[in-house]
Symmetry: C2
Subunit: 197 residues, 2 copies
């Protein structure tokens, strides 16, 4: 197998540098650093510029940390314990059109776009973000007081990635960034072929 992170076409290295580590140093994320990451998300595109994304955050050791941490599934808690911020990304499924609130077709998609800006800017600042859908989907809406017509899209943890030299033998293989299918697997000229599924 080839090195899993070699692009087949020339791209900005930032897209390859972004990955989702599980070994973090325990360093706290300063609030001002987190706000820069969210600022990048702010400039993302959205249907009718509706900006449906909401960022709920807890910083390591603050009044919200334990509440957010307790919503994650145990498998994620193991590594999130060493991160410096936990976020829940939420989308508003309705948008204002004139004086009316109408369903948004793209609220999840738009919030996903914002999440990538957030993650790329984190890398630019020397941090790494790791997204999760492994949280308590039954309890989270109540605990986060999710308003009607909103959807919790994902949780994210942000922290300082452990240097490769500091990884244990056990951690090392798990921390190797994962690969991707080649684009020929998901790019189609024209419509789907008749047998696609």
């Amino acid at each position: 197998m080839t090195e899993p992170r070699t692009p087949d076409h020339a791209i900005d290295p930032l897209f390859i540098e972004r990955h989702s580590p599980r070994a973090f140093t325990g360093e706290a994320v300063p609030e001002a650093e987190l706000m820069r990451m969210i600022e990048a998300a702010r400039w993302s595109p959205s249907g009718y510029n509706s900006q449906p994304w909401r960022f709920l955050y807890a910083l390591r050791g603050d009044a919200h940390w334990q509440t957010f941490f307790d919503l994650l599934v145990p498998g994620n808690q193991k590594w999130v314990a060493d991160t410096g911020a936990i976020l829940f990304l939420v989308s508003n499924a309705r948008m204002r059109v004139g004086d009316e609130l109408k369903p948004s077709y793209s609220h999840s998609f738009d919030t996903g776009a914002a999440s990538l800006a957030f993650q790329l800017q984190a890398v630019r600042q020397g941090w790494h973000a790791h997204g999760m859908t492994g949280f308590d989907h039954a309890r989270a809406p109540e605990v986060l007081r999710l308003p009607e017509h909103h959807r919790i899209e994902a949780a994210f943890a942000v922290g300082r990635k452990m240097a490769t030299a500091d990884l244990t033998e056990e951690q090392r293989p798990r921390e190797a960034p994962n690969g991707r299918r080649p684009i020929t697997d998901f790019v189609i000229a024209g419509a789907f072929p008749a047998d696609a599924g």
Copy 2:
């Protein structure tokens, strides 16, 4: 009002440079250029690395162009006529877990993330992408032969942005990149406040 594209926190200028023009030069997008943009999308994160995104494309003047163009609403056709590629971004709402296909919680969100990588890499290459949900939602699934359990997330047009000096008086105000709400409008420490809506 302040200049609409001044960030409140220091971020990579790429996030500000990306915007959604409507004035394009008519230049065709070479296929190899488009594949680089899609390569950037390839490296995006997705739930369980399921990579749910699909990119359907038509290049200006090829056998698919008119089919794709005809699916757009007239308001979008007006400016897409001067772009060099039209894409439909589709997500697979199911993912493989072992031998089973299970519903994906984050297929739209993940595809949104991939779409931002695509758009940012386009800017890096000197092109601009503009997303749309204004397409014929009734006809598109049939025309694109959308497989079951898939969702059309958005259409995109990519092209060479017209230089500001070449814009007509009428185009100029419309081409000024739009602003955003400040992050204080959508960032919350902890859970939603009790009166959020």
